[in-house]
């Protein structure tokens, strides 16, 4: 990708092929041009107001709502012929829904796919940020099931709108405090609430807490798409993303002492547990980022025949 991504998004948001005849053909990226333009405009607003949930006229996609329809709309609205796409689910390129989404993007655009972030420009993801360092070349597109971080403390959408508008996050703070007092630890698991650019609290999708620090002052653009709830929000590059916590209560990521990946030996990646069973005995851990694990294994043992 030669043109900076933001410029590309801007270019594509201001041009649209107005000829109705061209729209009757099968569209590049499936969506009709008017829909793409609308989604790009929502993305631009989201980038301009980091963390603000921009309403958009979410289209019905060939995947079910809740299965990445928001992320898919973003991918199809920003993808260009020079892009290379990587799609992961839980960190895994081989997850069946990741395969299905990738197949849709590739077949409707003809762009190449990759499993390696180094070779990719668009990375659509469900619930993980790849372990590899990402930079200006990358756009991370996160599939969001529930974009509203405050739903646990308020159900009325009118009141939620007011709370965001006035940056009134007092009840969120109270709920974190009560959590700490009752349980001794803050029990929020994934999708940890974060303050973006000192202004809006966002739901960090359900990415694990492990990934949250990667959003802070990142070099890449993160776009969050919630298709069912019809919201898009963004964390632009070089933006503060601070997990909500107290001065004397450190933010904790998922670490299990002594755990390391059985395949590549890493203890510095996000690990998922393969539990012990009566039949097969002791449990173990593996990297959730399967492609990174494969390459890491090769780095450790270059001679074992695994291709990078």
């Amino acid at each position: 990708m030669n043109t900076p991504l933001l410029q590309q998004v801007i270019d594509r948001s201001t041009t649209v092929d107005d000829s109705p005849l061209s729209d009757l053909d099968v569209n590049f990226g499936l969506l009709d041009e008017y829909s793409k333009r609308e989604i790009r405009r929502a993305i631009l607003t989201a980038v301009a107001v980091p963390g603000y949930q921009v309403p958009f006229g979410s289209r019905e996609m060939p995947v079910a709502r809740g299965w990445g329809s928001g992320g898919l709309q973003i991918s199809l609205a920003v993808v260009g012929p020079d892009d290379v796409v990587k799609v992961i689910d839980q960190g895994d390129d081989e997850g069946v829904n990741a395969v299905n989404l990738r197949r849709l993007i590739v077949s409707s655009t003809g762009i190449p796919e990759s499993t390696t972030p180094e070779d990719s420009t668009l990375i659509q993801t469900r619930h993980r940020i790849p372990e590899d360092p990402l930079d200006e070349r990358h756009t991370l597109i996160l599939q969001v099931p529930v974009p509203e971080p405050l739903r646990g403390v308020e159900r009325d959408m009118r009141e939620l709108a007011r709370m965001h508008a006035e940056a009134d996050y007092a009840r969120m703070w109270v709920s974190l405090y009560e959590d700490k007092v009752r349980n001794g630890v803050i029990t929020r698991t994934t999708g940890y609430p974060c303050l973006v650019n000192g202004r809006y609290v966002i739901a960090t999708t359900p990415i694990p807490r492990w990934d949250v620090p990667r959003l802070h002052q990142s070099r890449f653009l993160s776009l969050f798409g919630a298709g069912r709830e019809k919201r898009i929000y963004a964390v632009p590059p070089h933006t503060d993303v601070e997990p909500l916590t107290f001065e004397d209560v450190p933010f904790e990521v998922e670490i299990t002492p002594g755990a390391k990946c059985r395949s590549c030996g890493s203890s510095e990646s996000f690990l998922v547990e393969v539990p012990a069973t009566a039949d097969e005995g002791g449990g173990h851990w593996v990297c959730s980022d399967s492609d990174w694990c494969r390459r890491n294994r090769h780095r450790q043992h270059p001679s074992n025949g695994v291709n990078p």
């Binding site: 099968v26 008017y34 079910a64 349980n183 698991t189 709830e229 670490i255």
Partner: protein, 369 residues
């Protein structure tokens, strides 16, 4: 190896697709014709068009066949198909008085203006499962057809001797109630553009047109459930309305010709239309009069149109005091609800790992203290 393994997922998906496609198209029975579904599974096709927000009986039948009879899945196929199409024109506003009725009942009066026309309905038929074979059912149906032809030549379709065309567009009960000054008048004169739910997310507080459009496209069962929850208690308490009009009929659709500027007819849609009379009894309401709720949806779907009309007036009276509007706008879409429910089948091991870790952290804290 990594590359080959990445294709493993694709192979599994393709095998699953083939399994579905094979059983759907082959099997021991004959091909399920679209025409068959349109004629004989009429209500299912109508429901798919309504929930899909697209009037096309053949596309809806194809979707229903592809979805193996699941109406929500079929509505999804229709809607995602529509996402690929540009919007080329808007129809001119339809006057619902142009509705040519196929069925019309007025429960509010014994002798309303215009006919009580039962039409094609099973409302008054005993629900006895007919297990007769095809020959027996066809023979019985032929006899009934002969009887229908006979009585039609004696009178007209209405079973009385009233003027045929005039009574196909009967005056509505609401007009009569207005003449009697028995209803409050909430008609607006500023004619705002209707809210387009396919282009903008409808969120509370929303305009009435946003609520009506949402309900017109809602999943039938979901809308009936919202209505029932509000009738029975857990969500609120709303009045049972009295039905003023229940109509099913054909409505002409026109667009403005892009070159000549003339209005031209591009066909007709079948719709169900309901007017629901509400007894106003609030302290701040005109208790000497009634109010009216409105429901209209694609196809023949009276359950949906009635629930819609009752919820329309309930929402109007609620004026944002409860969660009713939010329930209607946010929880009645079939694609939203079922898609999100079914997403639970996706792998969740990253989130679950995070939950396990916090459970361990809580236990550790409990042991320490």
């Amino acid at each position: 190896m990594g590359y080959a393994a990445a294709r493993g997922g694709l192979k599994a998906i393709e095998a699953a697709e083939r399994l579905v496609a094979r059983e759907r198209a082959l099997g021991d029975s004959s091909w399920l014709e679209s025409k068959q579904m349109i004629e004989k599974l009429r209500l299912a096709v109508d429901r798919v068009m309504g929930e899909g927000g697209l009037w096309d009986e053949h596309l809806a039948a194809s979707a229903l066949r592809q979805a193996e009879g699941d109406p929500i899945e079929a509505a999804h196929l229709l809607r995602s198909y529509r996402s690929t199409l540009p919007r080329l024109a808007y129809t001119t506003p339809v006057d619902v008085d142009d509705l040519v009725v196929l069925r019309r009942i007025v429960p509010a009066f014994r002798n309303p203006p215009g006919p009580q026309l039962l039409g094609r309905t099973t409302d008054y038929t005993s629900r006895l499962l007919d297990t007769a074979d095809e020959t027996a059912q066809r023979t019985a149906a032929e006899k009934m057809a002969a009887f229908l032809d006979e009585s039609a030549s004696a009178t007209n379709d209405f079973g009385d001797d009233s003027d045929r065309h005039g009574d196909r567009r009967p005056r509505r009960l609401l007009d009569l109630l207005r003449d009697l000054d028995a209803v409050v008048d909430r008609r607006r004169v500023d004619d705002p553009e209707p809210f387009d739910i396919t282009r903008h997310p409808a969120r509370p507080p929303a305009s009435r047109s946003a609520r009506l459009a949402t309900m017109a496209r809602a999943e039938t069962g979901a809308l009936v459930n919202v209505w029932y929850r509000n009738i029975l208690g857990p969500d609120g308490y709303l009045h049972e309305i009295t039905l003023g009009e229940v109509r099913h009929g054909r409505l002409p659709v026109t667009v403005v010709h892009p070159l000549t500027g003339d209005e031209i007819s591009i066909g007709e849609v079948r719709v169900t239309e309901v007017e629901a009379i509400e007894d106003l009894n609030g302290i701040d309401e005109d208790r000497g009069r009634f109010d009216v709720g409105y429901g209209l949806c694609f196809g023949h779907n009276e359950k949906k149109a009635i629930a819609m009309a009752n919820l329309d007036i309930a929402c109007e009276r609620d004026r944002g005091r409860s969660f009713l509007e939010q329930s209607i706008l946010l929880t009645t879409d079939g694609l939203d609800a079922s898609g999100f429910l079914e997403h639970l089948k996706l792998p969740h091991y990253v989130t679950f790992r995070s939950m396990m870790e916090r459970k361990a952290a809580i236990r550790q804290h409990q042991e320490r203290s």
